[in-house]
């Protein structure tokens, strides 16, 4: 217990932790500010303004239309319709329709809390995961490369206890930060919806669904934290985790995408980590193979589909995290600290 508290204290004292935390708050704050600024409530005034704008646009387009028809008639009389690329029957030119200029298109952006907040939960989780990966990797990586781990092991010669306590401390820190900032994030968007947007249709069911989205997001963040911690400990250097992240990014997101398309594997998205992240947040993610044909007696040829569900994602993420963690613990037990 004392070790756990000491590690929490060490985490909070680190410059990188504080720096990343400030950056995180500034980044999230910037998004909130941008949303407040761009979202506007659609009151009667805004509606009337949009009505006017739509009508003005319609009239303008009608003006262009009439000019064009006039040019067409003139060409017909002069018998130069062909040269000017004009139709012979000027009635064929369709005038703009009034319903094309619907009021909605002229209304300013209005944040619909119920509709849009799930996307912002994913955005929040993504940003938090990035920060947590960095903090966790450096928390243990710097300790290895500075010799602090050796000192600690001289004090507490139980290697697994020491490492797992450190991991516990960093997970606690990330979870606490996630819950706190997540609550503020929710309040901020609710306020934007309340004063600059719309809160329509918020039932307890919607809130429950938001809570589940948030829990899934935090789960992913904690997994990413563990992986960053594990990789840095395996390589005994922060750079190991950062290198691995870049490598996965390049290999999975670019390399595999190209390789699979060259050799023509169906559904290359299946091999790409970000598909699983998308499925995790959207509950499912459907890949479409546009070149394939599954014959269907009613619709004829429809492209084949491949659906990644959030359960698939759960398995992939859990297995990856467990693998890294086990390798980390095993090397911690076996390898010399020299």
């Amino acid at each position: 217990m004392s070790l756990y508290l000491a590690e929490l204290r060490r985490l909070g004292k680190r410059r990188l932790t504080r720096f990343v935390l400030v950056l995180l708050i500034l980044g999230l704050g910037a998004i909130v500010v941008a949303m407040t600024a761009s979202s506007q409530k659609s009151g009667p005034a805004a509606k009337a303004k949009a009505e006017v704008a739509a009508e003005a646009d319609y009239q303008e387009q009608m003006g262009y239309h009439r000019q064009f028809v006039a040019r067409c008639e003139a060409a017909k009389e002069a018998g130069t319709s062909q040269q000017q690329g004009m139709p012979t029957d000027c009635a064929e030119i369709t005038p703009p329709q009034r319903e094309w200029f619907s009021v909605e298109h002229y209304l300013p952006f209005e944040l619909d809390f119920r509709e849009l907040f799930p996307i912002f939960i994913a955005v929040f989780a993504g940003i938090l995961a990035l920060a947590a990966y960095l903090v966790a990797a450096s928390f243990v990586g710097a300790e290895w490369s500075s010799g602090g781990m050796t000192n600690l092991l001289l004090w507490r010669p139980k290697r697994l206890t020491v490492l797992l306590t450190k991991l516990g401390a960093v997970l606690t820190g990330v979870l606490a930060t996630g819950l706190l900032l997540g609550a503020l994030w929710t309040v901020a968007f609710w306020l934007i919806g309340r004063y600059d947007g719309t809160l329509g249709g918020m039932t307890p069911g919607v809130w429950r669904s938001f809570a589940l989205d948030g829990a899934r997001g935090l789960g992913l963040v904690l997994a990413v934290t563990t992986v960053g911690f594990g990789l840095a400990s395996l390589g005994r250097h922060t750079a190991m985790a950062l290198g691995a992240a870049v490598a996965v990014g390049v290999i999975s997101e670019a390399g595999l995408r190209i390789a699979t398309s060259v050799i023509g594997v169906p559904f290359p998205g299946r091999w790409i980590l970000s598909s699983y992240a998308l499925a995790w947040f959207n509950k499912k993610w459907t890949l479409i193979d546009v070149q394939s044909c599954a014959f269907d007696p009613v619709n004829g040829c429809v492209p084949k589909e491949f659906t990644i569900t959030w359960q698939h994602s759960a398995i992939v993420f859990a297995a990856g995290t467990a693998l890294v963690l086990l390798a980390t613990l095993w090397t911690m037990r076996r390898r010399d600290v020299a």
Binding site: L3, A6, V337
Partner: protein, 324 residues
């Protein structure tokens, strides 16, 4: 005598991908008795740090037995770790924390009251710089932080790996005084060093290691006596008589080394030499026993005495005492 530290037949071979295998310890033995200041002496690369790391559970030995405070390690290390304070190899600390933060985090991790932090900082003379970041410390000051961290838990056994590294002469003297006073309070101190003067000045007993093996051990005076080989320098009134004197002494069973202006006679009593030479009508003008110090014993035992015109490489010690 109770032993607080016993090592039997310890062996360790490092395996690295790039350099292959390197045997660091080849059947090493060491015993440290309670209450003494024990010197652990050996040239660079002889295996001192490896021994201490193994003892403290940082690396895994390939064979051998070790006991710390009567408990077998590494099996029971966790139980005795609280009574052993140690630093291995110039220890490093997280550079952005102050000495006080570093020590108080260690104190927290080890259930030591934080008031102890101020005490040890005072003890190693860092009180006034304790709030500065360790990054701004000199090597000697870092070494003091390390010693302070080892003292935090009021250990019964204090293990220090080359604590004089990087200290200025004043610092070395202060460290020596500190160790003396700790020993006077009943703490057992194990002190590794390649600096012989250090060991000779403050240690009660010594273990000398070379190429991963013990080459000598015991109380400092005993080691000196056993290896002093008591030579006697002999000068005659007439230098021309030296060859005759050498022949006479050799004939009488002495071991003689002839030098341009004197003879060195090994392991003989001065009286015997005078009598033997007087019998042949040779008269001695100087007869001086040559005193040895730990340094020459060390150089002799580890085969690292400098040879004029050669640069000795770090691993070029000789194997002494029939181990080859």
């Amino acid at each position: 005598m109770t032993a607080v530290l016993e090592i039997r037949d310890l062996s360790k071979t490092y395996r690295t991908l790039r350099r292959g295998r390197r045997q660091a310890l080849a059947g090493f033995d060491m015993t440290v008795a309670a209450g003494e200041v024990h010197g652990f002496l050996g040239p660079n690369g002889s295996g001192k740090t490896t021994t201490l790391r193994t003892l403290l559970g940082l690396i895994r030995p390939d064979g051998g037995e070790m006991r710390l405070l009567g408990q077998p390690v590494p099996e029971r290390l966790a139980e005795v770790a609280g009574r052993v304070g140690a630093i291995v190899e110039s220890p490093q600390f997280f550079p952005h924390f102050s000495a006080r933060d570093t020590l108080s985090l260690l104190a927290d991790a080890g259930d030591v009251p934080r008031t102890r932090v101020g005490e040890v900082l005072e003890l190693v003379g860092l009180r006034d710089r304790a709030k500065d970041r360790i990054r701004t410390y000199s090597l000697g000051m870092k070494q003091r932080v390390a010693v302070a961290s080892a003292l935090l838990k009021r250990p019964e056994l204090l293990i220090l790996d080359e604590p004089a590294n990087g200290l200025d002469p004043g610092g070395i003297r202060e460290m020596r005084d500190l160790m003396r006073s700790l020993a006077a309070d009943g703490m057992t101190v194990l002190l590794s060093s390649h600096i012989l003067g250090e060991i000779q000045q403050i240690c009660d007993s010594v273990t000398i290691i070379s190429l991963g093996r013990r080459v000598a051990a015991g109380p400092v005076e005993e080691v000196l006596r056993a290896h002093s080989a008591a030579s006697v320098r002999v000068r005659l009134e007439a230098a021309d008589d030296l060859p005759r004197a050498a022949a006479a002494l050799t004939e009488a069973g002495g071991q003689v080394t002839s030098l341009p202006d004197h003879l060195l006679v090994a392991a003989e009593r001065p009286a015997w030499i005078t009598r033997t030479l007087a019998d042949r009508g040779l008269y001695v003008s100087e007869l001086a026993p040559i005193t040895v110090d730990l340094e020459s014993v060390f150089l002799e035992l580890t085969g690292t005495a400098p040879v004029a015109g050669q640069a000795r490489q770090v691993d070029e010690s000789v194997v002494v005492g029939g181990h080859a």
